[in-house]
Symmetry: C2
């Protein structure tokens, strides 16, 4: 069964374009799981900052991390943040400038960020990140060191308030414009994974493990 | 000659990872021009909001737009905003969890947003957006209507304060880890444009104009 996410009180309820809004957890989770790149918004001295960072989901929480020296991460602890994940799926060309659009999937999550402080729990979260991107890789790696755990901050947020927005399909032109001899349609956009490039230290004959060929974004 | 952008006073100067920071306009403009999807941060009742939106650059300004009914756009006028554009260029797999990374290009711009209010200037900006994405398309379209100009808000910001960050290249493992028999390297990530799909009203025989095949993102 899919839990519904609180539709963000009044503050994020989608007043416009409600047909594009969705609050169910399945929709939200699918978008979070499809795109590791997130944009996290903080307020710092009253002004907004938006930083790109990797996010990963574990159950009902979303996490992100960065250097323990990061002023943004320090400022984010126990304050309101906004974590947004977006995928560009297509360029939508209409017969009028006004109806041009893009196809996309996006999630906006609101809430108070908490900091993961227990070293063992932090290491578990690092494992969560690695395994989310590259299943099976964690156990192949040189084990994590205490100093690395210390040097990294992990922030999390419960998936509780927010929304997903999705646009799919062709342009929606004004009815009377559809007869115009103007090409209109969609150019799909997707993320392509290229051929893996080993670094110069990989011994001859050591090919990439299976998870490298299975990376999917989008 | 390339102008330097003010390195964001103290508030955004890149205290960490300075080797990844760049303040020259050529670097910033190249990233803005490569990716129309931006994430704009606003402060609304003291909390941060990050909304995905299309941005386009005209000279020394960056613009974005949306419905005139949008609370975010209304809240943004003449207040501090942060516009961030990011491109994910590769997944970087190292021999330790700690040194995993991503290759990316990103720009963070800070400043006060202004609203374009003059209807003729707004129409010029719509043209700027269409032509940035699809050179030559504006003149093929059904002309813009006054009501459409009114229904759309255009916000702009001078490119004056901010920074670009770029990571490229292989993983940087701890020296002593390079001898480990663990595969490490980069999986390139890029944006792929699919085959254009005409909508159901396009007359038989009317193929897409040249700009459709020339869309490049990334």
């Amino acid at each position: 069964m899919t839990d519904a996410v609180k539709p963000a009180s009044k503050r994020v309820r989608l007043k416009r374009l409600n047909k594009r809004g969705a609050y169910d957890r399945a929709s939200i989770d699918a978008i979070l799981d499809a795109m590791p790149l997130a944009h996290v918004g903080y307020v710092f001295d009253g002004a907004p900052y938006v930083t790109p960072t990797l996010q990963w989901r574990e159950g009902d929480h979303v996490y992100w991390h960065g250097s323990s020296a990061s002023r943004m991460l320090r400022a984010a602890e126990d304050t309101e943040v906004c974590l947004t994940v977006s995928l560009l799926d297509g360029m939508v060309l209409a017969r009028s400038a006004f109806h041009h659009s893009v196809n996309y999937r996006s999630v906006m999550l609101l809430g108070r960020a908490f900091k993961v402080t227990d070293p063992e729990e932090k290491a578990e979260r690092f494992k969560g990140l690695i395994e989310a991107l590259y299943p099976g890789r964690w156990d192949m790696l040189r084990p994590v060191k205490a100093i690395e755990v210390k040097a990294t901050s992990v922030l999390g947020m419960k998936i509780a308030e927010g929304s997903a927005k999705v646009r799919t399909g062709p342009p929606i032109d004004d009815e009377e414009d559809n007869a115009l001899p103007i090409w209109a349609g969609v150019v799909p956009v997707s993320m392509r994974m290229g051929k893996a490039v080993a670094d110069s230290y990989v011994p001859a004959g050591l090919g990439p493990p299976a998870h490298v060929g299975k990376i999917r974004i989008g």
